[in-house]
Structure formats: structure tokens, C-alpha cells
């Protein structure tokens, strides 16, 4: 028994070591959440780490207790049971009260962060996001610019059943789109999420934004990327929405304010002559009817 238990521990340790070694070798063996690029995302990250370490600490205590008992109180080593040990009110109170205190310590920062995430005042740019089976529509409300965003061609080819295209040969396999969402850095951007057919969810981990897009309703959510964190951030639809739920990624391109303004002007100009595509208030007004 002794050997089996230590074998178990050893196997865990070696698996852990293996994982760490491997993660040093190539970045794929990711173990943890990223910190993200917004104030909120970092706060969420530290909440996550706080909870993780609290759980680890309690785990060390509880598992230590169990392992100590397993090692010390074995019949094979002549342990005699203490059969009068049936209850102890003091102990019960202690292990009720201490967890309460720990939970309060978790709840306070959690509640603070939650209140902050729900504070959608003073936004500077509003974009309406519409989920479709299986693409995303972005509508820059004040500029009248519309963008439809679908899985990029290369991924789409490779993901067909038995396509014989190696996914590794496709850059950003399944995480790339034809037209990304372009937003300015250092700006409080508000997204108004809805859907045309079924429920989708818009999720970009680096922004720590995940919110359902529900047909017939609008959900509000916001993010503000650090001024210096321009770049491309990727995410995916996070609510089962049918056959191609796995194939409607989200790509957000964060540009500097100036670059963004220029991009928007260019889009406006391009949109002028042609009629606006289907992403309009009217089109969405008929939602909710399911077939």
C-alpha cells in the first residue's frame, strides 16, 4: 500500500514536471489564463489566481490531513481505533467558521470587480454585435459602418471532414476571420449584443468579455484596451449554436486612436455608394420567431 500511494504521488509529480518542462519547450502546453489587455481583465486574472491559491492552500491542508491519516493509522501497523471519538462541537464550529471567513475574503474582491464590470457609463464608441449561424455582424452605430465576419477561407477548407489539409499548416487555424472587428485602444468601447437566430456568446479572453447574444434582446458589455496594447486578439463563440458553433471565431484588431479613425473614414467612404448590407435594425426586428 505504502508503495502504491507513493507511486501515485510520484506519478503526479512526474506528470507535473513533464508538463512544466514541455511548456518551457514550446508554448502550446498552456496551463493558465492570460492576464489580458484591459484593467478588468487583469483584475479578473488576479481574482482567479487568488481563488486558485486559496483552493491550493485548503487543498494542502485537507489532503495533508488525509494523507497523514492514511500513513499513520493503518491496521497493518497495529493502529487501534479510538471508537469514542464520535463528535466534537468545538471542532464543528471551527470548521464552519473558518471557511465562512475565507469565503468573505473571496467575496469582497469578487463583488468589487463585479460592480466595476457592470459599470457601462461614459462609453465612447458603440458597436452593435449580431450573432448569426455562423458568423458575426458588427455595426458601428454612429458611423453607419457594417462588417460581416466569417471564418477565414484557409481554416474553412482545412476543417472539412477528412480534408487532408494539415491544420498545423494553416495560420491561426479556426481562429481567423475574413473581416475582423476593428477598435481603438484607450477607448471605452460598448458592445450591444444580440442575435438573429439562436443564442451565441461573444468571447475574447484577452478582453475578459463574455456575454450571450440573445435573439430579441440586447445585452450590454464594455471594454477598454490599454493605450499601448494595440494588436490582434482572438476569441470564439462560447454558446452552443448548432452545427458550426466551433467555427465562428472572433478577431479583434486594436489600433491606435488615429489609425482607427482613419480606418473608419475609409470604411464610411466605401459604404456610401453601395447599399448597406443586411445588418440593420429592421432585419433584427423580426427575430425571436423560431422555426
Amino acid at each position: 500500500m505504502m508503495t502504491k500511494n507513493s507511486a501515485k504521488v510520484a506519478s503526479y509529480l512526474s506528470a507535473g514536471a513533464l508538463a512544466l518542462a514541455a511548456s518551457a519547450a514550446h508554448a502550446e502546453w498552456a496551463l493558465n489564463m492570460t492576464q489580458g489587455v484591459t484593467d478588468i481583465s487583469r483584475r479578473i486574472y488576479s481574482l482567479h489566481m487568488l481563488m486558485l491559491w486559496i483552493c491550493v492552500a485548503i487543498g494542502v491542508f485537507v489532503f495533508g490531513w488525509i494523507i497523514y491519516s492514511i500513513l499513520s493509522f493503518r491496521k497493518s501497523q497495529g493502529a487501534v481505533p479510538d471508537t469514542r471519538m464520535v463528535h466534537n462541537t468545538k471542532a464543528e464550529v471551527i470548521w464552519t467558521v473558518i471557511p465562512v471567513l475565507i469565503l468573505i475574503a473571496c467575496a469582497v474582491p469578487a463583488a468589487r470587480t463585479l460592480i466595476e464590470t457592470e459599470n457601462a457609463t461614459n462609453t465612447e464608441l458603440t458597436i452593435r454585435v449580431t450573432g448569426y449561424q455562423w458568423k458575426w455582424g458588427y455595426d458601428y452605430v454612429d458611423a453607419g459602418v457594417n462588417v460581416l465576419s466569417t471564418l477565414d477561407h484557409a481554416s474553412n477548407e482545412a476543417r472539412q471532414l477528412n480534408s487532408s489539409i494539415d491544420p498545423a499548416s494553416v495560420p491561426d487555424y479556426l481562429l481567423n476571420v475574413d473581416h475582423p472587428l476593428v477598435v481603438p485602444a484607450g477607448t471605452k468601447v460598448r458592445l450591444l449584443l444580440t442575435a438573429q437566430d439562436v443564442i451565441h456568446a461573444w468571447w475574447v479572453p484577452a478582453l475578459a468579455v463574455k456575454k450571450d447574444a440573445i435573439p430579441g434582446f440586447i445585452n450590454e458589455v464594455w471594454f477598454k484596451v490599454d493605450e499601448d496594447k494595440t494588436g490582434t486578439y482572438r476569441g470564439q463563440c462560447a454558446e452552443l449554436c448548432g452545427r458550426d458553433h466551433g467555427f465562428m471565431p472572433i478577431v479583434v484588431e486594436v489600433r491606435s486612436k488615429a489609425e482607427f479613425a482613419a480606418w473608419l473614414e475609409q470604411q464610411k467612404a466605401a459604404a456610401q455608394p453601395a447599399a448597406a448590407p443586411a445588418v440593420t435594425a429592421d432585419a433584427t426586428a423580426t427575430t425571436g420567431q423560431t422555426g
Binding site: N32, A91, A110, P167, L174, K211, P215, L240, G242
Partner: protein, 533 residues
Amino acid sequence: MAHEHAAAHDDHHQAPTGLMRWIKTTNHKDIGTLYLIFSAVMFFVGGAMAMVIRAELFKPGMQFVDPSFFNSMTTVHALAMIFGAVMPAWVGLANWMIPLQIGAPDMALPRMNNFSFWILPFAFTLLLIGFFVPGGAPAGGWTLYPPLVLQGGDSLPMAIFAVHLMGASSIMGVINVIVTIMNMRAPGMTLLRMPLFVWTWLITAYLLIAVMPVLAGAVTMLLTDHFFGTSFFSAAGGGDPVMFQHIFWFFGHPEVYILILPAFGIVSEIIPTFSRKPLFGYEAMVYASASIAFLSFIVWAHHMFTVGMPLAGQMFFMLSTMLIAIPTGVKVFNWCATLWRGSLTFETPMLFALAFLFLFTCGGFSGLMLAIVPADFQYHDTYFVVAHFHYVLVPGAVFAIMAGVYYWMPKWTGHMYDEKLGKWHFWLSAIFVNVLFFPQHFLGLAGMPRRIPDYSTQFADWNMVSSLGAFGFGLSQLLFPYIIWKCVKGGAPAPARAWEGAHGLEWEVPSPAPHHTWDEAPSMAVIARGAEH
């Protein structure tokens, strides 16, 4: 040890034989056996579907199945496991053990008992033939969210009626459990003398009878929305898709405690037995179970933090969810205290119970993390959630079932099972289950959504590890039916009290337990001997 009161008297009527015996039986032991066999079959059916899932996810790219079929696999895997494998296993164990443990001659309503079992195979036939009708089996996830689920093909009404049937079966089953426990206890078997398995089952039964009808109502609304033009879940008519989620999770969250409370009961029987020491804090354990059950009614929306609830709602559901850690902690600590200063041996049931203690607690920890709303914005609908619930369900509920089966198998068959093979089964399961599900935490945190048939290459490595773990775990499970079969066929004869440290009335009757037991209620002396907790 065998007590004279338990004497078999099997002979007062000609029972039908062959298949008819099983179809017409009203005997709680027969019905328990039927439930357990059904559960094992569904475990393999659901497990086979999990193997399809893990095979497709073995590496990036689509290799084996169409995305819709993949979604059907996920959906039916979950339904088969929850409603087909785990719940019937609990009802089976309740049928076998509760009358034995409380000194009752049978379940209170034996005919209805038969009905609640025999509905089940029909319910699952209805669900599974959905694979062969136009549109394929339901593919909207086990949570059946509209509007998506309403896009399903011809299998939609079949799945809905299957859920109705499962609900009817559960309701009849738990009415029987409640009535048996409340009405059939031997004189002297007071409530606070009942074994914890009986207690946790009683609480489970109250949960079930409160929420199964709500699920029935929810799926009925799906049916009428789809076929009869109602607008419960459609904004155009004044309804709301999220309304379904509220109703579903009002059922769904208590449901997950339905899956785990009897496990708590079993572990609370096994740990004292193999520690040769009474359960520490018996009453605290009872109250903790009741508190968990109570709290489980007011936390449901923690499954829906991303639907856009008002702030106050999110706050309330976060805090109420966190509260559940407290009674659960009380249970964990009391188990630890039971081990403390015991005299431990490590037979297979004990090994499974100990693994339960470790790994369920791990699953509980990730549950607590999920309760933190802002963090859940990152975890929700990722493999982190998948890891969480498999930890509480597989090394949680399923391990506890296995522990219970090993623990009571000598009582059922009259033989000891093959301890060596049992240990093999345990160690292979315990190692592979971690290889299977631990990496899914990493995948979720790295950003892999759940319910996707294919993924970006950055998730390849841990998915491969997880799939290998899955195949290993799946193959290891083949040992289980073999060990049971072997034990039914033969093995060292089991004494009435098969385990040195075991207490409880079930150990006062011979092994194998005769067809009818406790025709005469056990005497106070017997009860007192059994009830030392």
C-alpha cells in the same frame, strides 16, 4: 453473525421464472438488480459516446464525424450518463439497501416500484431511436436551450417525451423511497439512527420530487413552442429564451446534488467501516446534507452568469453559491476526522471512497472558482467547466457508486469479489481519470470552448493527453463487469458481516441476502447493534 430473525422464507408462492420473473417482479432486491444492470448498460452506452467525442478531439482537424453528429454525441452522452447511468444506479442501490438497512420487508409500494423501473428502458429506447430519424438525435446540448433545440429534427418530440418518461419514473421511484423511509422503519429505528445512506437518499428524494416536475414543465413548454405556436421562449411574442434557462436550472442545479448526495451517504458508510470507528459528527453530517439540499434551490442562476442578469441577481447567486462550500466542507472535515485515529485497511471500496474524498474535493474547489462571477466570465462554457463537473461526477458520483457496489457485492452475491482485480480496477481508474480530466482545466483556462468538434492547434497537446487518458479509463472499466460476473459465479463465501468494521442492519442478514428479509422486524437488540454510528 447471521441473525435468526432474518431467516429466509422464500417459499410461500410460486414465483414466475425466466424473463417473466424479472418483468413481473415486485421484490426490492430484484428491482434493485434490474436498475443496476440498466445503469451499467447505459454507462457503457454513454461511455462509448464519450469515446467518440475524445477520438474526434484527439487531434486538430475533423477526422471521424460530422459536427452535428458530434453535438448529438455530446448531448446524448450527458443524458445517458445522468439519467441513464448515475440516477438509476442510485435508485438501484436504494432499492437493494434501504429496506435492508431500516429493517423493512420491502419497499412500501412494490408494484409502483416495478413500474418506475420498467418505464426506463422504454424512455431510453425513445431517446436513442432518435439517432435513426430525419435530423438525427438531439444536438442542442443536454441543457436543451431554445431556440437552438427547437431547430432539431424529428427527434425533438421523442427526446421531450423521453424526458417526461424519465421524470415519471423518477417521481414514482422517489415517492417509494420517501414512503419506505418514513413509514417502514422497524420499530426502534429512529430517524437519527438511520445510516447516512438512508438519510442522504431521503433528502435526495425530496429534491427530486420538487424538481423533476419542473423539468417536465420546461420541456412541455419547448414542445408547445415548437408545435403549437406558444411564445414562452420567443421575444416576438413577449417571452424570453432565458426564461427556459431559469426554469431548466431550477431543476438542473438541484439535479447535480441529486447525483452527489447519495454518494456522500455511501462514503459515510464506507469510511467508518474501514476505519473501524464510528462516523465522526453523525448529526452534523445529517444537517450538512439538509443544508446543501436547501441551498441548492437558490443558486441555480450560477449557470447563467453571462446571460445579462441585473447586477443584484448576479451578486445574489454568487454569494448563495459560495455558501454551499460551507456544509460541503463540514462533510469533508468530518470524513477526515473519521479517518483520524482509526485503524485503516484499504480494500477496494475504501480505495474508491478515499479517491472520492480527494477528487470530489478538487471538483468542489473548481466549482467554487466558477461561482466567482467575474472569473466565471472567463471560465464559462470552456473546458474548465467540463473539468469541474467531470471531477464531481466521475471520480465523484461514479466512484462512489463503484465503491458502493464493491462494498455490498458480498451481501448481494454471497461471495467475496476478487480483491486483486478490484485493486487493479481502482488504480487504473484513479490514474487514468486524472490523465483524462486534469488537463481539461488547462485547456479551459487557455481558452478552449466546450461543445466544439475541432479546435485550434494551440490546444492540441493537452487534448491528446486527455484523449489518451479517456481511452485508458474506458478500457479499465471493462474490468468492472468482469469482476462482478466473476463474483456472481463464485469466490470465497462471504460471511453475514462481510467487513470486519461494518455496522448496520444489512450485515445482520445472511450473505447472500435471502429473497425476503425482515419479514419480522428486527428486535431492538439487533437494531442497537446495527446502529452504532
